[in-house]
Amino acid sequence: MLKIKTTDRYDITPLRSFMTNILSLLAALVVISIIFLIAGVNPLFAISEIFSGSFGTFYGIKETITKAIPLILIGTGLTLAFRAKFWNIGAEGQMLMGAIFATWTGLNFGGALPSYIIVPLIFLAGFIGGGLWGIIPAILKIKYSINEVISTLMLNYICAEFLMMLIVGPWKGKTRFGFPGTDNLPDSAILGLIPGSRIHYATLILAIICAIVLSVIIYKTRFGYEVRVVGENPDAGRYAGINFLKTSLILMAISGGLAGFAGVGELAGIHHYLGYPASISSGYGFTAIIVAWLAKLNPLYAVFSGIFFAGILVGGDAIQISLGLPAATVQIVNGTLLIFLIMGDYFLNHKITLKFSNK
């Protein structure tokens, strides 16, 4: 009989960790292929289509980078939150709240101010909006021990409805012909694009700076140290005298604030007005969870995993059109990847040996 024996592994090297990730992704790819096969699509074709659609053409690359911007911003923010085992599933709502704050700022002050003032201002407003929406679940968790997964999710729904309330009600634009949506932001508040693309470079640069700053915060500062201790063992955090409320507030302000940045980027870089919630964010908040996880909660790696998943989004769009697959396909791909990534951790932490025995 074949016996499976597992023992703990104590020698986890970065290389092994990286290889486990790669193998997990490959295993996920196999499963995704099977799903495609069942859906009546040639998996090799579909997968090659995904990657050629995203990285294979110049247009694809430009689109991939465009979509990577919000993913990197939100993903880096989530690495910080997840380090503290604060399961922020509410980036979607925080992003929208950032966009709402930025819209208000842009519409009210944008006309009178030059670009170099209004652009930083709307980003600041977005950070504040996302951050405030982010600290609500932090307060609820620490003060009232309300599970943050549920509260952040509920706040997503609430924020989306709130946004709808604004754009069909008081903020409804005169130029929208009765459709929900605000007027366009003034030109000074619109972000510049790299010519021939939709890449709003200001946000891209901001995203990369954020990733660097966050990795310094996590690995070099006292705050980062406290976040890691709390995440590893909250009881030890208590024993060490770490102020949970303060730590959670700061980390959720940052995590939500970065999602807010992403919202501003989408608003001022792509849409130029506040419209339907689903158009501002097409599920970036959720995809970013996998971005953070694939990055092993390291903000710098999140830049690369953000680009990778942006590629899947863009490629997913491509096969939706060429193969007639539903939009949900991307979610299948994401869900499968995520589940294989966490399953892979088991094989990283355990040594598995097969033994033949007679009994």
């Binding site: 104590y10 070099k220 500062t221 006292r222 705050f223 140290y225 406290e226 890691r228 201790v229 590893e232 063992n233 009881d235 030890a236 955090g237 208590r238 024993y239 060490a240 005298g241 770490i242 102020n243």
Partner: protein
Amino acid sequence: MKAISKSFHGIHANQDINLFVESGEILGLLGENGAGKTTLMNILYGLYQPDSGQIKINDKTIRINNPIESINHGIGMVHQHFMLVQNHSVIENIALGYKDTPFFFPKIKIKDKVEQFSRQFDFHIDITKKIWQLSAGEQQRVEIIKALLNGADLLILDEPTSVLTPLEIKELIYILREMKAKGHMIIFISHKLDEIMDICDRVLVLQKGRIVGAADTKDTDKKSLARMMVGRDVVFNINREKLTKGKKTLSVENINVIGDKGLLAVKNISFELFKNEIFGIAGVSGNGQRELAEAITGIRPILSGKVKMNGQDITNKGPRHIYDNGVSHVPEERIRFGIAPGLFLYDNAILKQHHLKKFSQRYFLKYDQVKNHTKTIVKEFKVSTHSINNQIRNLSGGNIQKLILGREISEQPQLLVASHPTYGLDVGATEFLRKHLLEIRKQGSAVLLFSEDLEEIFELCDRIAVIFNGEIMAVLDSDDKRFSDIGLMMAGSIRIDPMEKQEC
């Protein structure tokens, strides 16, 4: 059991062990912490599989793959840490393990049977109570009922007395003798010589996973057993110099603290602690020691009363503020509180200290200093690790403990609150640690030592308080003659008026 061997990560926990028991016999298994007693019994109970060797019952070789098979072979085990579901009632716990529990309405249907058993052995337990409402002795009786109901011929008791008061120990011994008279076999695991001599017919001595001695208790004495157990003649002989106590460091005034169960765990306790003094708190664990330690160090809120450090009020000030006032803490549940398992050794070496100027500059940590500091602790406290860039979860329990001790002691605290600091350490490390505690005492620290080990308490402490059920039964100098009755104080039967203590 024949030629049993078992190793973990290449370390032999059991090597070539032979053991037999006859019916109506109580066999003692003697050995220090970590000698491999529990591992051996877990093999017999089917929790671990031996790497080699055989188990026979009535001359038939059997293989025990899991606890069910073990129960079916008539083996019952009372673990050192009770295997009880705290939030469930007694009857639910019994129904969980009883093999004839019916599927429907289990609680009602087995009630009679349980009550009959508990009458037979004179257990007095309310079976509708939740486990957490019971005393340790009562919980142990629940465990024994569980084993007996399943028809255990052989009962293994792992360190059964470690959580009991002297009175409860007497009751346990009575129960064991009853069982013996009825023909049961009992394996009694302990590291306490007195009990083994008192209870057992025969004794096996384990050391570092091997059997190093066997004897009938009537043919041997404590001294020779002790020699076998430790492998050499050791009598801890630490010389505690007489020191005159310095100025008052800590004062605890009438504090009340709520325990995990929402009940008062510390009741109106007051005491004072001075420089150059080790103050011991003796008592059976679970009588409020943990809550008291956590309350003083700020992890647990104090309901009423005051704690002052050098005259400054530190009541409920939070662990960091209290640490900054010179209080270090070696917590009782070290793995739970003391470390962040996935972080590196050097991260863990500054758990309580990371905010100090020495290790951090405004917002940033000074990792160079942190690493140097860690290296010092590792060297001084002989923590065995291949590198300080190692996740602390990869270390053994003893080494983790050494790191925590090093972290809390090396800074020469004004007050050290230490809960069971030597529990689980080997002989050498224990000796080292005890000397170190006396050393910091000499240099002016005050130490508040919680321990169950009376030997340790009497060796180290200048004054000793006995705690029972959240109250202090007596505070006396350690050489006070009235301590001949410490057993009764620990059981709450004698209380010495606090007024008397003032005169000593």
